[in-house]
Subunit: 343 residues, 2 copies
Amino acid sequence: MTKNTSIASLGEFGLIDRLTENWPSFQPSTLKGIGDDAAVIAAGDQVLVVTTDLLLEGIHFNLMYTPLKYLGYKAVVVNLSDVYAMNALPKQITVSIGISSRFTLEMVEELYQGIRAACEKYQVDLAGGDTSSSLTGMVISITALGTAAPGEVTYRSGASPNDLLCVSGDLGGAYMGLQLLERENEVFKVNPQMKPKLEGFDYILQRQLKPEARYDIPGIFKNLDIRPTSMIDISDGLSSEILHLCKASGVGCRLHEDKIPYDEQTRDMALEMNINPLVAALNGGEDYELLFTIPIADFDKVKNDTDITVIGHMTRPEDGAMLVTGAGALIPLVAQGFNHLSK
Amino acid sequence: MTKNTSIASLGEFGLIDRLTENWPSFQPSTLKGIGDDAAVIAAGDQVLVVTTDLLLEGIHFNLMYTPLKYLGYKAVVVNLSDVYAMNALPKQITVSIGISSRFTLEMVEELYQGIRAACEKYQVDLAGGDTSSSLTGMVISITALGTAAPGEVTYRSGASPNDLLCVSGDLGGAYMGLQLLERENEVFKVNPQMKPKLEGFDYILQRQLKPEARYDIPGIFKNLDIRPTSMIDISDGLSSEILHLCKASGVGCRLHEDKIPYDEQTRDMALEMNINPLVAALNGGEDYELLFTIPIADFDKVKNDTDITVIGHMTRPEDGAMLVTGAGALIPLVAQGFNHLSK
């Protein structure tokens, strides 16, 4: 009898764990394989970090409201964000695309204008790729390569109890931008004459459509003289990423609800849609901010920095991964982030 | 007025050229970007080669007659072949897959068994990847990394007039294997009770379903004390690959029809299907043999090697890229290889 296990029941991370269980290793240059934001490979006196992302039309993007130029830009940025999350600097990307016959040359050129704009902004080279036709929608697969000094690479696994949990920028904006775009797209489908109401929400729209990677954070670390003990980028939502740090580092955490930073526009749109802005920050994803831990002794160095917010601290593993509410209650953190496999 | 240029009219290579025209470069470590089998990146005292391939269901593979295990194996091999074509050794791969809800865990595990078998055979590490759901078929994107000593990397661009044009193994088998599978699949669709007639064609079926990359060729070069002046792997058909070498090296060539090596099974199946086996070799593709040039002074070194066949020589560019027929007539070579974009 053939077994038929549903993949949705495992989830993305469960699936990867299952597929790569007891996988053998042959090359001593592979310093870190599966299980972080990027692979780490020894290359002479430096280490190389390598990360890859697959973006599929209808799953990761909707061309009804995503301009192709922004899509190209974002597809690069999400990969570069993984490189910065290793405390490395991106240098090269490869781009593979699959396109169906409904795409014209001009449309693909628009996509590449966005890819090029991101390459110029982040000073990375387009070093290769592959182009193919597709039977249905658009497929974009990007791999990014970066370098770091061997001692500078920051893994998910280095956090200790009492380390401070910090985040760059603000959270939940990309999710609220997506909700706004989907609402207006529904309105448009019913009445194509209706003008979309997007005014006053430029920030959250930009967070969704044309996010930036935190290329400035390595410089801020240097200026403040701090060295993160662990780091990850926020692509799936704060809860999911915190749980990754806790699991990889073997620690627990206390995340303080009232410390989580979000922008006014995120709050306003959340209120308008009867969504708790906290939920957008915890589970929304796609913010591409950096989440990291630092030794508690470094608190004075970050406390006045406007780019960094201390949102909690790590604990012993037996204390669990907990959200501390404004009223002081403890609620276990649950990863409810974007799980593309359960859709 | 919006222009709507058909992508099929440009072809894959025309499209890449158009999209990446005047693309800026920022990183001095990018030694070779787009335009060879792989990108070449400086990494300490070695160079790193990076290549990527996107495989889409219905375009590159048909799951009606492709066992998932073979598909996983082949998806790795086609990337490794690009690394060997740079005269480099593959070390790591990343694998991203997109799967629709019709795939069960057991099916994806079968795919990964094939990926793992290829990793074990070629001693490469699975260093990362991405997993996603897909709305329609299966998507596989693989990136391979390899290393070489800086002076050993072989580009498409190093051939000179009078260099000998050589090929490893035999050609056309993968194409005839595909024709056989498609014929039997058509029969099956009409009458599912009919047993497929595949006996006696194990070699060409293996060439199509479970090809190998020529990992042995770098060692053969060392043993014979030859250093290829240019090299490419045969994924799109001999004609197309020869034209790549000619264009990149700025030379012409004479390819001798009667020197092109093909296996008995390739010939027999071609005769059975009223196909000229030469056409299978010239335009069929997917043989994953290596095509390379060597100085004419090295002829004695290769003339008795059973793995290598001299099939012609390079000429001055003004002499053109020509097929020399058995009767001595000259016919211009035309790339009629697999062009996924004109399908």
